[in-house]
């Protein structure tokens, strides 16, 4: 009893019970790597007692959004996926019927990639990680727009691929805005965030595997999209893959490609035994400077596409002025085309959807697929090791 009482006496007077956080409204711009980490944030906020209905994501990117809410807020010319964030911020600040309490825009430094530990680093693009600082400047240069709107701007720096560090980083980011927050509570919430993200990724990978198994069973072609997470935003990627799917081709996104050991051993076992790589997620054979998470995954996706027979075609999406994609154009194309897989690249995507040219290219792609898909699958099957786990169920 005394041992329990003493610390209590010495501690500060007990604070009042923390007010409920359920009523706090948090706005999150639906941009950049939020497209691949949103489940982490939902898990985290849920564990911190935020009502999920009060977590408000901005709309998909659109030119209208930029015109209405981002006008005059730009600070520098850069790629559209970063530039468009002004519109997202503006929509959350000015475009809500019910006012937000917090605008949350994390500076994500590293990403929790399935390739982590097999590559040099899993950094985000320098523009992507720093975008919140850049966009913030546009909302501060004349007056503090956040303060005027009564919104707290929260922009923690977070290394999502370094789990031991994340509770500290997020605690520092949230301690002034979440009443009664403790370090222990944040650590637990971070754990739940990771669980939510892992669960979501696992579900999507299982779905992708089902698609691949169907293709193997039916000997049908599917398409793999190699792009950055934000190309899932209809305003950035312009739903090119949707147009292709309308022709009946299943579409897989590289981010959610199955990574089951049986499939990986089959696809990369030979390369490992030959000493080209050390694990299925090692890309040193094609990309020695494996620092960038999304770039690493794109290169890995290209390698996968080259080895899976039913991926008859790869669609590469890239935004205008993307400095991360630029050095990868040739190796990605080479990796894919050397395997006989069809490769089509949509480069320099910007704010406007080039609907006419997309339509023509989609028709071209489907024409080639109709003509060559069967032959491509047969040739790739002949070139691969026997015992593909996709074809065994």
């Amino acid at each position: 009893m005394p041992t329990l009482t003493l610390p209590r006496w010495l501690s500060k007077a007990p604070a009042a019970a923390p007010p409920s956080r359920a009523s706090l409204r948090i706005g999150i711009p639906r941009v950049l790597n939020l497209w691949s980490t949103h489940q982490f944030w939902m898990g985290l906020f849920g564990a911190l007692g935020i009502d999920p209905r009060n977590v408000i994501f901005s709309s998909d990117t659109s030119e209208e959004q930029g015109r209405q809410f981002g006008k005059g807020r730009g600070t520098v010319d850069c790629c559209y996926p970063v530039k468009c964030i002004s519109g997202h911020y503006g929509e959350l600040v000015f475009g809500q019927k019910q006012k937000l309490d917090i605008l949350f825009s994390p500076m994500i430094y590293t990403l929790p990639s399935f390739m982590s530990g097999h590559v040099a680093r899993t950094l985000t693009c320098p523009r992507v990680m720093a975008a919140p600082e850049n966009i913030k400047a546009g909302f501060l240069k004349e007056a503090d727009v956040f303060a005027e709107a009564g919104i707290k701007y929260v922009t923690p720096f977070v290394s999502l691929d370094e789990p031991p560090l994340v509770p500290k980083q997020l605690f520092e980011g949230f301690q002034d805005v979440l009443p009664g927050l403790t370090r222990a509570e944040m650590a637990q919430a971070v754990g739940e965030g990771y669980q939510a993200l892992q669960g979501f990724n696992d579900r999507l990978r299982r779905k992708s595997r089902e698609v691949l198994e169907w293709c193997a069973r039916e000997d049908r072609a599917c398409l793999l999209v190699l792009a950055r997470p934000y190309h899932m935003d209809p305003g950035i990627g312009h739903e090119i893959e949707v147009d292709l799917q309308a022709y009946g081709y299943p579409i897989l996104w590289m981010q959610y490609f199955p990574t089951d050991p049986d499939l990986m051993d089959w696809a990369f076992g030979e390369d490992i035994r030959a000493g080209f790589i050390k694990s299925p997620f090692d890309i040193r054979d094609v990309w020695p400077s494996s620092y960038s998470s999304n770039t690493n995954e794109i290169l890995w996706g290209a390698k996968v596409a080259a080895r899976i027979p039913w991926i008859a075609c790869v669609i590469r999406l890239s935004s205008y002025e993307c400095g991360m994609d630029q050095p990868t154009y040739t190796p990605v194309q080479q990796i894919i085309e050397r395997s006989g897989t069809l490769f089509f690249s949509f480069q320099d995507l910007d704010s406007t959807k080039p609907a006419g040219s997309v339509k023509i290219r989609v028709e071209t792609i489907t024409h080639y697929l109709e003509k060559y898909a069967r032959e491509i699958i047969a040739r790739k099957k002949a070139a691969m090791a026997p015992g593909c786990p996709l074809a065994q169920r």
Binding site: D285, E321, Q326
Partner: protein, 505 residues
Amino acid sequence: MATATTEHYRAYTPKPFTRAERDSVTILFGGLHWRIERVLQAVLENSGYRARVLPIATKEDLLTGREVADIGQCCPTSFTTGNLVNFLRGEAKQIGAAEVAKRYIYLTAGSCGACRFGQYHQSYELALRNSGLDAFRMFLMAQDQLDQKAAMGDGLDLNLPMTLGCLWGIFCTDLVQDLEYQVRPYEVLPGQTDAVVKDSVEYLYEVFRNRPARTPYRSVFWHLTTPYFTRALREVYRKFSQIEVDRLRVKPKVKITGEFYLQTVEGEPNYNIHRWLEAEGAEVYPAAITVWMDYLLRLGLQRFEDYSGIEKGARLKLGLGRVAQGIYRWTFNRLRRAMGSLSHEIPSQFELRRLAAPYFHSRLDGGEGDMLVGKALWAYHRKKAHMICELSPYSCMPNTMSIGAMAGVVGRYPDLLYAPLEIKGDAEVHALSRCQMILTEAKKRAQREFDDVLARTGLTVDEVRAYLDAHPEMKRATYRVPHGDAAGTAANLVLHVARRLGRRG
């Protein structure tokens, strides 16, 4: 449509450079300014290598770079890639591609960052393939194990004495460069500074080439304690002392910041901006490589700051790192004192970080990160310059972000003269005219500051000049005018003379 093949694509892997080849193979390098390149050549030669500096990149190199590598590169990539390719093509014409691959290797810095700088190897590789030089060996000195270190071979031994030689070379040439830019705009005899600098760099080349050999650990002790380099810098100081200057010329001081390559090179890759600014009547405050490396040290140590209390040993590593950073700065200051403390001091990284914090997070790396913001504010608050000229390559990913954040800084300090220049390599008129607009304001500000100082001290230009004529030692390039309450050299000189005359400034 390509046909299927079981031969998968593999990245370029150069043949190793072996110890036996040292006498017959020449190491090519470049991409810095000529002073440090010359001294690095001496360091390599001192370590038993044959070394050759690549010629300074030109617009022709830019066009070649664009032609032979993937589209959409940043301009430093195009310049450096084209520079290497054009040099090799020229050599290949004379001795053939096979002989070029045998006789030369190219050594360049790798990076641990995610921007294109860390992926230069891809541009070089593609360019070499497109130029029929597939067999040429190119090595990145990377900061981690996953790069090409294993394939590099035992030919190049990046040992401690060589590394320390490079570091001391950077310190010395930074000090010379800084003094050079303080002196040239005020030299009475045109061309004298250039001649002295050329002579000094050649002298330093010999000093570094004849550096005594030491074992690795003895080398550390020797570098930290020897008077060898301070003696050499005192000789450089003596050479500078022969230059007569007229510091009463009112000139705006322009601090250069920006992306590492563009702020460091002097030539067409940055429109010869240093010389152009001088020709337009400015005094240039160049960007020291020493500051950049101090920033890299700070960045590295921040990791241990973050992991303190989380990872075992992080605090100890942080402490040791801080000691190393302290020794780094102490060494620079020791050498700086040998040059009469005339060259600019290196700003405290903690101060830069504190100044930048409201605008740019200190953990965001790539480019100059928060240092770009911190340096601008440091120069502004401490009156180190009238204007900041920030050089950013077209489409440079990290620097664009820092520049964007500067909008917040300029909003808070509207009188901070900031000229961010996007350098494409071939849009010179546009960039320079933009710079000129801000420079015009900086000139007015320098003149206003000078006039204010004269008014405050009650001195006239003639009186100050008469005082200088009576004290000819003050007209030497090596006379130290203390930094007073002004940014401009002329204004600080007036304040100094006023103090010596017992007047209040």
